[in-house]
């Protein structure tokens, strides 16, 4: 599997059919999960805001997962100088930034009625904001350097350094007193009526990211091919 993903030609052949299949799986899981999730009974404490349970935690988990993918791809790009890894890193960043932005916004809307505040500088919220800034920083850095090799190397190093933020986000609620609730075990802390759509939605969001990541990595491979051909044509003229 790794060899398939490491070879650009094999990756393009694999992703051509894998992206739509994973996309369809994502749509089925999300439609079913959100439909069931929006019809669960109100929570005895949180009332109807419990609907956000099927959006906010999944997007927060996905934002960290996307950054782990970005950091992992950056590692292979920087250490092994693999062109496809650089393309995958560039493709993951905008998606991760979007999910992190949504995690922050949806969390803010959930926090206002439950905590009485749209925002607090507590460890979980702040470290998630740092994650958002890391995504933006990576994208800005690779866009700011004209030489793509240097841009990928600089961005890759930033992405790898930023990996340290992932355990900080995860354990922030244990290490510090936070307004954000502590970590939950979704298999035992949640009633089955919430747990099932929660897990289905989580799988749906992950599949959605997987499909879009493949599509964006394909776009990045096409972009490089187009640029290489344009340079060759310009050289002949």
């Amino acid at each position: 599997m790794f060899q398939v993903l490491a070879n650009p030609a094999k990756f393009m052949a694999f992703s051509k059919w894998a992206a739509p299949i994973i996309g369809v799986i994502a749509v089925v899981l999300l439609v079913w999960g959100l439909w069931v999730g929006f019809h669960v009974p109100d929570d005895y404490q949180q009332g109807r805001t419990v609907r956000l349970l099927f959006i906010h935690p999944q997007l927060a988990i996905l934002s960290m997962f996307a950054y782990a993918c970005l950091g992992g791809a950056a590692f292979f790009g920087v250490v092994f100088r693999h062109a496809l890894a650089d393309a995958a890193a560039r493709a993951a960043a905008p998606l991760g930034a979007a999910y992190t932005f949504l995690a922050l916004v949806t969390g803010s809307f959930w926090g206002r009625p439950m905590w009485g505040a749209w925002w607090a500088w507590d460890a979980r919220l702040t470290s998630e904001l740092v994650l958002f800034l890391l995504f933006l920083g990576y994208m800005t850095l690779v866009a700011a350097i004209d030489d793509e090799t240097k841009a990928n190397r600089a961005g890759g190093i930033l992405a790898m350094v930023g990996l340290i933020n992932l355990p900080i986000i995860h354990y922030s609620v244990n290490w510090w007193n936070t307004l954000h609730q502590g970590s939950s075990d979704f298999t035992s802390d949640l009633s089955p009526v919430y747990a099932l759509p929660f897990v289905v939605c989580l799988l749906g969001y992950i599949a959605m990211f997987g499909a879009l990541w493949l599509v964006r990595t394909r776009a990045e491979v096409w972009r490089r091919r187009a640029q290489a051909l344009a340079v060759r044509q310009a050289g002949r003229a």
Partner: protein, 50 residues
Amino acid sequence: MIDFSNKYALYVWPPIAITALVLAWTLVDSLIRARRWKKKAESLEAGEPL
């Protein structure tokens, strides 16, 4: 039940709408980007001028 008159509706539906919009943007942008670069690369491979 889906209900817009609930006292928490103001805190539930706007984030759902924002999420739907942003996720739709990620989908549309990804597809447009892939289609545009594929078309560009194929036209260059066919030897069309820049």
